[in-house]
Symmetry: C2
Subunit: 219 residues, 2 copies
DNA sequence: AATATATTTTAGACTTGTCTAAATTTATTT
DNA sequence: AAATAAATTTAGACAAGTCTAAAATATATT
């Protein structure tokens, strides 16, 4: 088993390699982890001994496939717990992160499988971030704001940028919800407003301001 | 904040003082915590410095009111999580303990308040153990098997001894459930079987064997 | 290519929680 | 009440994770 600290380092390395490239510097990890470079070096050695990363002195580190699997399982747990807190326990978006940081380290395959089932197997968290499956497989396509897509694109709504109550109420009333299939019927050249069809049912208009705050992937 | 280890020691001291008396020996704690007496001494000093216990060298320790409050909050969390796992995530009774041991250390007042609400504010866990409230107040009356009560007693069903599927199915079919009000209409002298009324509705007969496996308190 | 600067690692120390072995205190027995 | 046994504490050590300060390496600059 890995300690909480080891798990947090692996998660940090994963998210850093997402943004930049596959090798991460000691300093970058130190900043992310709110710790000192010397502490990071110690941990990189340890993770390397455990074959969780590939590490060469002075050259930074990258997750091994074993380490990547662990990182993805932590991220899976984090995102599922966030969904659970939001959907089942009426947490607000800004309250979920700290608690999920703790819950992500609970070690029970059955627990996370049941939470997944309880939530009806969500594929994205409400920020549009993909939730890795139990095998660590993760949707590669990144969610982008709906304003980025073009006429006739068929999308899957994966999240929202703005988590304010007023915005959430607005999309609710419009009939928009996570998991909806959305087809872009038309893009107004003048103000970039959109005409979209939700599922097979109603067609609505949304402003560019709203479109910017809705996240989706190509279906 | 207290570490997981400190919380576990406080919980151990609490449960030990429940059984025996108010002062607990170093050895008793060592056995409960699966550790050595020397380690316990170190921790007793630390908990004493933090005013969580009253401790005199060679004289054992007892929880201070501050320590008792912490212990009760851990126990509250443990029992609420057990209920959650059983009732919402389809865990079996023998699967809940290990996971609850981890979850009880998650630190979030809102989380536990919402779990409590989600479960509709249960007062007893399914073993008949009382769940302390948010202020650390705990029902003092201990659950006893229904076979211990007498004619005309009005009871609150708080738990079951046997958690096998067959027994749980049986009480389900009989219309018995946690939280039911039960009135003992008659006790058969010969075989100690009971005639009981559940709520204001149906009256049923249960054998002494069944009664022994149902836990209740005087309402 | 030599020097200056930035990054990373090492060395040694500290904290938390654990341990073994020895010393001390308390309890029990005769 | 002295001797023995049992329980508890102390002393010193270890592992995990952190830190500061100094040394080593890599990168950038002229």
């Amino acid at each position: 088993m890995n300690s909480f600290t080891e798990e947090n380092y692996l998660k940090a390395i994963y998210t850093l390699t997402e943004q930049s490239n596959s090798v991460v510097s000691t300093n970058a990890i130190a900043e992310k982890m709110n710790t000192k470079a010397a502490s990071v070096t110690d941990m990189l050695k340890k993770l390397s001994d455990k074959k969780l990363i590939n590490y060469q002195k002075y050259q930074g580190g990258a997750l091994s496939s074993k380490g990547k699997k662990v990182a993805l399982s932590i991220i899976r747990k984090h995102r599922l717990w966030e969904m659970f807190l939001l959907e089942k326990l009426d947490f607000k978006w800004d309250e979920v992160h700290d608690v999920a940081e703790q819950l992500e380290h609970i070690n029970s395959d059955k627990l996370i499988a049941q939470i997944d089932k309880f939530l009806n197997y969500p594929k994205f968290d409400p920020h549009g971030e993909p939730i890795p499956d139990a095998n660590g497989k993760i949707q590669q396509q990144r969610s982008k704001s709906m304003a980025n897509y073009k006429k006739n694109d068929v999308l899957l709504m994966t999240g929202v940028v703005d988590h304010s109550t007023s915005f959430l109420n607005y999309i609710d009333k419009s009939g928009l919800a996570l998991g909806n299939e959305i087809r872009i019927k038309d893009v107004n050249e003048f103000d970039r407003s959109l005409q979209i069809t939700i599922g097979k049912k109603n067609t609505i208009f949304i402003s560019n301001d709203v479109a910017k705050n809705i996240l989706a992937i190509i279906k």
